[in-house]
């Protein structure tokens, strides 16, 4: 505890400060590469859509000890009733999952019986899922509508609660998160099911939630910034980032722990299904979401703000003051900028804390 706690202390006082805002180009390039990679893979490989989106039938047969021979047995059983399995996989060591193209209910009952006879289980022990060809597109359509409405509402909320640059920066970060998460799905070839879509939609909420917490600190630090000339908007925002860094890290760990637990338990006990699909999307999305709140949202925000006239004036005043006071801007640490800065004894204090009368304005 003492280590992390003291890191938190030093971050708060600015003794350690990461120049996140200044190095925004690095983050932009990094994210641009990831996004380009995502879009590229998406265009080339596309997503591995589950039968919920393509339409089709899926049968899950419980067996005591699944072996590779069972896969062949399942294929033969299905061809015997005049259909073809598009995929047969062993799931979790004790289930055989068979997927076929769309079947009518009568056909599905036939396949069901054939599988039950082959693997000597009761008809009703087999899990059956039949999906009509239009269902998937409806699910996606609903999700898309939900997305658009949510974005509009959130943009309105952020503009009212914060200000429009924050709304823009928050939404850019959000788009970034979703693009990269979808890209990882394309790259890894993990199946996209309705549960995955739920995961994506949750990421939207989470990503913004995280950004709101960071922006709230930025808002607090920059509340009356233009009335003084101590630091520029970017510097204040960077300080806010550093001050909330421990919270961001803690929150991410705490949010990821349960998701990790879903993944592990899901894989060990169930093999595949709703839990895993959901948890995987969340795991990736939350990681990217935390990253973007810090490294993308806030740097974009500072760029937008620094364009405003009042902030340009502020930056001019700050630089002028520092020049007058003979402060080397390069060596300036965030420590001396912190509002709560408690000056340690030493020569550096003298350099900054001039008597009020001689402070440049």
């Amino acid at each position: 505890m003492s280590k992390t706690s003291s890191l938190g202390n030093r971050l708060y006082r600015g003794e350690i400060s990461f120049d996140i805002v200044d190095r925004r180009r690095t983050w932009y390039v990094l994210s641009a590469v990831f996004i380009a990679l995502s879009i590229g893979t998406l265009a080339l490989r596309g997503l591995n859509l589950g039968i919920e989106f393509k339409g089709g039938a899926e049968f899950t047969v419980p067996v005591s000890n699944a072996q590779t021979a069972d896969v062949t047995k399942a294929r033969e059983a299905i061809s015997a009733v005049g259909h073809e399995a598009s995929s047969v996989t062993i799931v979790g060591g004790n289930k055989i999952r068979v997927q076929t193209t769309t079947l009518t209910i009568k056909e599905s009952n036939k396949v069901n019986t054939a599988l039950a006879t082959t693997f000597k289980v009761a008809d009703t022990d087999i899990k059956v899922q039949l999906v009509g060809p239009t269902w998937g597109s409806e699910v996606s359509k609903n999700a898309a509508r939900a997305l658009v409405l949510f974005l509009i509402l959130v943009a309105m909320f952020l503009s009212v609660y914060f200000e429009w640059p924050m709304a823009v920066a928050g939404l850019i970060a959000l788009t970034h998160d979703v693009l990269i998460t979808v890209g990882i799905y394309a790259l890894s070839g993990f199946e996209v099911t309705p549960a995955t879509v739920i995961g994506f939609l949750t990421i939207l909420g989470y990503s913004l939630y995280d950004t709101v917490v960071v922006f709230d600190k930025v808002k607090e630090n920059t509340k009356s910034i233009t009335s003084g000339s101590r630091m520029t908007y970017s510097e204040a925002a960077n300080l806010a980032l550093n001050q909330t860094l421990m919270r961001s890290i803690n929150t991410s760990i705490i949010a990821l722990l349960p998701v990790l637990s879903i993944l592990v338990v899901g894989v060990v006990l169930l093999g595949a299904g709703t839990l895993n699909d959901l948890a995987l999307a969340l795991f990736v999305g939350m990681l990217v979401g935390t990253y973007s709140s810090i490294f993308i949202a806030t740097p974009i925000l500072t760029q937008l703000k620094e364009r405003q006239d009042s902030m340009k004036d502020l930056a001019k005043r700050v630089h002028a003051r520092r020049k007058n006071a003979g402060i080397d801007e390069e060596s300036l640490t965030a420590a001396v900028l912190a509002p709560s800065y408690v000056a340690p004894a030493g020569p550096r204090q003298q350099r900054v804390k001039k008597p009020r009368s001689s402070r440049g304005k």
Binding site: M1, N142, V197
Partner: protein, 526 residues
């Protein structure tokens, strides 16, 4: 706010809410555990989308009639707790049929088969079940006209397998007479167990209450002969609800012929059986020939009954076609596995979070753990109450939503604790830091939770099926998070800050000034 802050009152109010909720959840004669979704206990779920034949939007009337027919069939499967729900509206309307437990694989087919409505002449009529004494006169509830007292009937021996309605035959033989006599509407599932009947054959059927059974001739008119039907009170204003019926041009001719023939008959053969899906919905007797093609069915109808009958007449059959969007059949064993996995994942995730909170925040982490426990209790109780009151079911996606919410709930504490520590780092004493930190953290918690709830509400209204369950749980747990943070965590931390131990600065408190690197001279400066 700090001056008038009363932490004990907050805790008391929260305790009362919790006690009230617990009482509500554990009322006698109710389920005392959450209602589980189909994916957790096994069963069949079918999602159907109704489509009108002429590609117009499905009207509310059509939907009501479709639901009635589907319910009738679902009830016929004889499974307790089977449910028919409507989700969405307009073009997005979905009918979700849930039948728990292990069910036959043929149910889906039966659900969407087109129902048929027909007018059949009554050939014979009797009580639905053997009567103890023949002198009891039949009640007229819902029946359009009085019935002659049927004679007592000795039960002939008939293979029970033959007694599954609809019982149909091209000609009425002796055997069918025996089947009619043996049919007991109370024991067979014939009242609800509706299946489409063949209009060209004779039919043995029960009425919808199981009070009477009928032998009916081949159909005289079919559903397509009816132009419109409506329920209303008589124009004179006095009397019971009635159903007005108008035939199509060709229907009017058939109706005229049929009524001419029927009104001369003696009871019970002067009646029409209005048959839907092999069940007699009503059997009005014909008092006079009706030549103009419009008729009134009167009797001791309630408003509800008259409306239902008019819908049966108007739409005749399944008024819309149903396409199957999704079928899921899950065995109870697999459902149980999923439930176990979901609960285990939740418990394991909670444990990890608690360990982390305790390691990082020490005593504060313990308070956070209590808060999480209170939030979890709240969620559990509310899910039970909602299950009983509005039929909310917990699905696997819902459990996942609740597990994800652990993170969001714990984050509220993290935001508060980090603020509190920031205040301490600035040299404030614990009491001041607890108050000031809260007033700052409060805003952040509300803003962040608002975004979360926004996401949940939008998802809930724009989705169907499992996404909905997930959104509901996420929204619910976020609201509970706000409640617990304000009414439990905040007062608890406030009270803890009053204890000597927390102020003594031990490393285990999580708020030790020394550990937070507060310099001694700043303490003095305060």
């Amino acid at each position: 706010m700090a001056k008038h802050y009363r932490p004990r009152r907050s805790l008391l109010i929260l305790g009362l809410i919790l006690a009230g909720l617990a009482t509500w959840a554990f009322l006698p004669n109710r389920d005392h555990s959450p209602k589980l979704g189909l994916d957790l206990r096994g069963g069949t779920q079918v999602i159907l989308s109704p489509q009108s034949a002429n590609s117009n939007a499905v009207t509310n009337d059509q939907l009501a009639q479709t639901l009635r027919i589907i319910r009738q069939r679902v009830d016929g499967f004889g499974v307790a707790e089977a449910e028919v729900q409507v989700q969405g509206s307009g073009a997005n309307t979905k009918i979700i049929v849930t039948i728990p437990g292990a069910t036959s694989r043929s149910v889906v087919d039966q659900l969407r088969t087109t129902a048929k409505m027909s007018f059949r002449p009554v050939v014979a009529e009797d009580y639905g079940s053997p009567q103890p004494a023949p002198s009891v006169s039949p009640s007229a509830s819902g029946k359009p006209s009085a019935k002659p007292a049927p004679s007592a009937n000795p039960t002939p021996s008939v293979d029970p397998a033959l007694l599954k309605p609809p019982i149909q035959s091209k000609t009425l033989t002796e055997q069918y007479a025996n089947i009619f006599k043996a049919l007991d509407c109370a024991t067979s599932n014939s009242v609800d167990g509706a299946k489409p009947d063949d209009e060209t054959q004779y039919l043995i059927a029960c009425d919808k209450d199981g009070a009477y059974k009928y032998v009916l001739g081949p159909a005289l008119l079919s559903g397509t002969d009816v132009q419109s039907a409506s329920a209303g009170l008589p124009q004179s204003g006095a009397g019971n609800w009635q159903v007005d019926l108008t035939m199509t041009t060709s229907g009017a001719k058939k109706f005229a012929d049929a009524t001419k023939a029927l009104y001369q008959q003696k009871a019970p053969t002067n009646q029409f059986g209005i048959v839907l899906d092999g069940v007699v919905m009503s059997a009005p007797s014909v008092n006079e020939p009706i030549l103009g093609g419009s008729a009134v069915i009167s009797g001791s109808f309630t408003a509800e009954e008259a409306k239902a009958l008019s819908q049966v007449l108007k739409f005749g059959s399944l008024p819309v076609s149903l396409s199957v969007d999704e079928v899921q059949q899950i065995s109870p064993t697999l459902g149980n596995d999923q439930l176990r996995a979901g609960v285990l994942a939740g418990a394991f995730g909670l444990l990890l979070v608690v360990i982390y909170l305790l390691l990082y925040y020490r005593a504060l982490g313990l308070l956070a753990t209590f808060s999480l426990a209170v939030a979890a209790t709240f969620t559990y109780l509310i899910v039970i109450v909602l299950g009983n009151e509005i039929g909310f079911t917990m699905t696997l996606a819902g459990i996942a939503g609740a597990i994800v919410a652990i993170g969001i709930t714990a984050d509220s504490f993290v935001v508060y604790f980090e603020r509190l520590r920031d205040e301490l780092r600035e040299g404030k004493r614990l009491r001041g830091a607890v108050d000031h930190g809260w007033s700052r953290a409060r805003r952040t918690i509300l803003a962040a939770d608002f975004v979360s709830i926004l996401a949940a509400v939008v998802l809930y209204y724009l989705s169907v099926g499992s996404v909905r369950g997930f959104a509901f749980t996420l929204g619910l747990t976020t609201l509970i998070d706000v409640l617990v943070a304000f009414m439990f965590t905040r007062p608890l931390v406030y009270l803890a800050a009053e204890t000597k131990w927390m102020n003594a600065g031990s490393g285990f408190t999580g708020v030790s000034p020394a550990r937070l690197g507060v310099k001694t001279h700043t303490e003095v400066a305060q």
